[in-house]
Amino acid sequence: MKIEICHGKFGYSNERIIHEDISFDVSNGQILTILGPNGIGKTTLLKCITGLVPWMSGETLVDGVSMKKMKHTAFWKRIGYVPQSTGSRFAYSVLDMVLLGRASHMHVYSTPSSADYDIAMEALEQVGIAHMYKKPCNNLSGGEFQLVMVARALASKPEIIILDEPESHLDFKNQMLIIGMLEKIVRDQGLGCIVNTHYPEHALRLGDISLMLGPNLPYLFGPSKDVITEENLSKYFGVKVKMLSFDYKDRDYCSIIPLELS
């Protein structure tokens, strides 16, 4: 499956254009990380990609077909969306919350079947919180609930999963968990991934391809290694950094250390 953005343009009004003529694509098996400073419009971009907010001009193509021409349910069967989480005010149990993700596969008049329960528990296991399945959502921490939302998106068995800053609110360990989980599902299940992230290190680690946005600057799209450089980080984030690479267990890792404001 391939999602393609063609000349997308979006703004809240003609004076406030946020994205001007942006084009990129991602297929399953790939992870696209999106980076940019606060307020640049990363969340808005995700909403435009998924059609939650309409493009002013340009379009989203799914396997060459314009998203506007697709049926609502057909689209969401293949795409999973995990918005930013601030915790839940509902007392639904974790499992009930994850089961909601099965909606696109169910009839309007149905209630979840045993098969649906299976898939939901599987998703919880993938995210590592299967033991919490009975807990009410409003008793969870922000980070735990973020994991629930990821599980919910996974429960719909999407081909591409879109996440908005999933590592926020997560502790060190859970951040590793999420990153590892994303790597695993892409590698093992061939899912595609679009991730907004504040952490260029994560982007490099995950990264096949990256999109970098900056204020009054042209967007950068390409292989992560080419996009995420000291020069680009300085220009797009206003922070001078030092990037240090090293090997660990036959794998390249890169550490990015902020030095000073540039």
Binding site: W76, K77, P83, R89, F90, Y92, H131, Y133, N138
Partner: protein, 354 residues
């Protein structure tokens, strides 16, 4: 992390305890039968059973065998039976509407009155009482004006590019309610203070007094259809309670779903107002009671509300018609019982609602 949790066990974990299910099914049935024994006219319980049995057998053409007067049979079958059925339907309908709307708005303080249906229906009824004094026309007027009020709410709530968000919907509902309440006051102002005004006032307070089977045929179809649709739809209401983007991301047609839920709740509420006036505190309190029994998942909550709401109003009506020679308006009883109970729930739950 333990990944050995058997899925079969999981599903069982989420089933409502068998004894709870038994109580929820038995409660309305029990109240239904016991209600037949309540009323100012003395009919002994075994006589009641004889009357019910004979009428039931009469459906199969079997001749009556009991020993009772036509008067007693009339009291049980013609006077109490319609009230009991209406109590069941109105209680269940209002409770289920309250639950669905609380789910949809994600707000535990919402009641069926939130979208202005009750005020609109009350206005329709008051207008009809003022102009013509015909019960059937009053009922039709109530249903029509109730639905008009909801339509007005929808129109008022469309801000910006035709998007009606949850917040604007609640605000628009408040505006519509206030508007129709003002119209009701205007009607009370112009109504003749010696005959029409007391009738309108009494009617608005809610009563099932002097209801007949004709009233049941008028309102039951609307209420039952509304309940059936909401029951079919019940699991999806969980999704409607989420944020807009989240809900859409689950492949739900948000606009259509909300419309269906609101339409069902409005039809049910307008039909209840048409047949028994405005009865508050059911749509608000019963869902909370049921949540503490079966949890917030609407898959279980909606059916529980039918059982508890129906039983509740049947009990209230039994009190209203038995405790004193004068009929007590229903909303007075539901408020006197409902408000303190709500306060108790608040203290017990520590403010944690959903």
């Amino acid at each position: 992390m333990n990944t050995d949790i058997s899925v079969n066990n999981v599903k069982k974990d989420f089933k409502i305890a068998w004894w709870k299910k038994a109580v929820l099914i038995a409660l309305p049935l029990l109240v239904f039968l016991l209600s037949f024994c309540c009323g100012r006219f003395q009919v002994a319980p075994n006589t009641v059973i004889e009357i019910l049995w004979d009428n039931f057998m009469g459906l199969f053409g079997i001749a009556p065998t009991g020993n009772y007067s036509a008067f007693q049979e009339s009291a049980v079958m013609a006077l109490r039976f319609p009230r009991i059925i209406l109590g069941l339907l109105v209680g269940a309908g209002l409770a289920i509407s309250g639950a669905a709307l609380q789910g949809m708005f994600g707000n535990p303080l919402v009641s069926p009155q939130v979208l202005g249906v009750s005020s609109g229906a009350g206005f329709g009824a008051a207008l009809a009482i003022l102009l013509v004094e015909n019960l059937f026309l009053t009922q039709i007027s109530a249903v029509i004006m109730g639905l008009v009020a909801v339509a007005v709410t929808f129109m008022v709530s469309k801000v910006g590019k035709g998007k009606a968000s949850i917040y604007t919907l609640v605000l628009a509902g408040t505006i519509t309610s206030a508007f129709f309440e003002a119209l009701i006051s205007a009607i009370k102002f112009t109504a003749d203070p010696f005959s029409k005004l007391p009738t309108i006032t009494y009617w608005l307070m809610g009563s099932l007094a002097n209801r007949s089977f004709a009233d049941v045929w008028h309102s039951a179809p609307l209420i039952i259809i509304g309940i059936i649709v909401l029951v079919i739809f019940r699991w999806r209401i969980n999704i409607l309670s989420l944020d807009e983007d989240e809900a859409k991301a689950m492949g739900v047609n948000l606009k259509l779903s909300r419309f269906i839920v609101v339409l069902c709740c409005s039809v049910i509420t307008a039909a209840t107002v048409s047949v028994c006036g405005i009865v508050g505190w059911i749509g608000l309190v019963i869902p909370h009671i049921c949540r503490s029994i079966v949890g917030p998942n609407h898959k279980d909550l909606i059916p529980a509300c039918i059982a508890v709401g129906g039983a509740y109003l049947m009990i209230i009506d039994a009190i209203a018609r038995t405790v004193s020679a004068s009929e007590i308006p229903l909303s007075i009883l539901t408020a006197i019982i409902g408000a303190p109970f709500f306060a108790y729930l608040l203290k017990k739950s520590g403010g944690q609602w959903k």
